[in-house]
């Protein structure tokens, strides 16, 4: 499919905005919507696996080899904080986006 972006003329857009390929949500980076930022504390994490299934944006990468989570993918994390709530070990804390501490 031809690439569609903000400069595409109306004649080249798909009819009714239909999208003819799967998985294109990754083309739309939503990380800049975030007002709260989750911070991952690897030293406290027990790799229990509770956080990544609740992430609505699939922004917690899990390595295929050892099934261990790594740091957040901030391109897509909207900062909803659900992961921080479910973490039993305090390994995810939330801080205001753009503020150094």
């Amino acid at each position: 499919m031809t690439k569609i972006d903000k400069s595409t003329p109306m004649e080249n857009l798909t009819t009714g905005g239909d999208i003819y390929e799967a998985g294109n949500a990754r083309d739309f980076k939503t990380g800049d919507w975030r007002s709260m930022r989750p911070v991952f504390h690897g030293d406290k994490c027990k790799q229990c696996g509770l956080c990544f299934p609740v992430c609505p944006e699939n922004a917690i990468p899990v390595k295929k080899e050892d099934l261990k989570r790594t740091d957040f993918n901030y391109d897509y994390c909207k900062g909803c904080g659900v992961c921080s709530k479910v973490c039993p070990f305090g390994a995810i804390t939330m801080k205001e986006e753009g503020v150094d501490q």
Binding site: K6, M10, T15, G16, I19, E21
Partner: protein, 396 residues
């Protein structure tokens, strides 16, 4: 060879739907269109169609189910009236913006309130800017014929817009008149099969329908709808030509009745055109040059063609069966006046709001309009262009 029958307007619409044999019909009954899903569910029950009939809990769901079915790749139809269409309103816009060629039989009725179940066009006028093709039908024959042509128009690759076929509630929907039907086989051949290029049930080519469409895209997608609506005009003419070659029954964008040599004319839609024809014939016997322009295709509005067909007249009356309550004129009046203005043609024009809530419009009423027009022809002046026809009010 056509089959001679006697059917009501609702029976005519239901018969056309039976012959089209759509994949899905989702409907909720409402007067005066109730009989359409009622007859159709009988066809489903006795096996004369293969349609999946979805008995939904509201008209909002009826249109939603049609949207789902069309997106999936099937043909979906429904029928409604007045407040049923009002309840569909949100989904009416979704259907057209997703470019789904759903076909709806709209049996025109006054939108409440106060509560009224009889004919006027306020339901249709409420969705006139929603991006649906709108065909109006003078009688049962036209309701049947327009339905047979509907899918070929709506599904055309340059159009892909939903389409509604309007007929007058009770006046047409419940009157039994003679009608010529076509055979099931020939209808099937004319309508053809529906094979959309992209559809949700195509598991080899997954698609997303109706995605988020923000500032950078919605404008262009709306303009696409506008272009499709413009393209529909030519497609309607081509399909009507094929239809005429098959059945011998002629359809254009509008019907000109004794208009070519007329001095004055009425512009109207649906059943009132029949009454007007009778009056035109009688006036013609008395040497009065009266004519009629009956709109068939209301959306897309054939502005240029209407302007050219009316430009030779000395006075025009546009009849609106819905009051826009805007202190300027009915919707059809505004369309006709702006059509002439843009074509740089000027003819004295007057608007009558008539037949609200099923108020009878008789030959005598129509004759009074031509009497008013005769006066306008004489003086060239239009005083009070926004008038009522058949309204009770105090003598002044």
């Amino acid at each position: 060879m056509s089959i001679r029958e006697r059917l009501s307007g609702n029976e005519a619409a239901a018969t056309a739907m039976k012959q089209i044999n759509p994949d899905v019909v989702a409907a909720f009954p409402i007067t005066p269109s109730t009989e359409i899903p009622q007859y159709f569910s009988t066809f489903v029950a006795n096996g004369s169609v293969d349609t999946e009939f979805v008995a939904v809990e509201s008209e909002h769901s009826a249109m939603s189910a049609c949207i789902g079915a069309e997106s999936a790749g099937s043909r979906a139809m429904t029928a409604t009236s007045a407040n049923g269409l009002s309840l569909m309103w949100e989904m009416i816009y979704i259907a057209s913006s997703l470019r789904l060629p759903i076909v709806l039989s709209l049996v025109n009725r006054a939108v409440s309130g106060p509560l009224n179940i009889h004919c006027d066009h306020s339901d249709a006028m409420g969705v006139r800017d929603s991006g649906w093709i709108m065909l109006f039908s003078e009688n049962n024959q036209e309701a049947y014929d327009n339905t047979l042509m509907a899918h070929r128009i709506a599904e055309d690759e340059n159009v892909r817009l939903p389409l509604m076929i309007c007929q007058d509630g009770f006046i047409t929907s419940h009157s039994i008149e003679n009608i010529e039907l076509e055979s099931d086989d020939e209808v099937k051949k004319f309508v053809g099969e529906y094979h959309p290029e992209h559809y949700l049930l195509d598991d080899q080519n997954p698609i997303a329908v109706g995605p988020l469409d923000l500032q950078a895209f919605l404008f262009e997608h709306k303009a696409q709808q506008g272009e499709a609506m413009k393209a529909a005009k030519q497609v309607i003419l081509e399909v009507s030509k094929d239809f005429e070659a098959w059945t011998g029954r002629h359809y254009g964008l509008f019907e000109e009745y004794r208009l070519a040599d007329a001095e004055m004319a009425i512009v109207c839609m649906n059943s009132t055109a029949g009454t007007t024809k009778a009056v035109v014939d009688r006036l013609r016997e008395n040497g009065i040059k009266a004519g009629l322009l009956k709109i068939r295709v209301y959306r897309p509005f054939p502005a240029e063609e209407v302007a050219n067909a009316l430009s030779h007249l000395k006075a025009i009356a546009v009849l609106d069966r819905a009051d826009s309550l805007n202190a300027i004129g009915g919707a059809l009046f505004e369309d006709v006046t702006s059509s002439l203005y843009v074509e740089n043609k000027h003819v004295p024009m007057v608007n009558y709001v008539y037949g609200i809530g099923g108020r009878d419009t008789t030959e005598k009423d129509i004759e009074s309009v031509y009497t008013d027009l005769t006066e306008i022809v004489k003086t060239g002046k239009v005083e009070n262009p926004y008038r009522y026809l058949g309204l009770r009010r105090e003598e002044k």
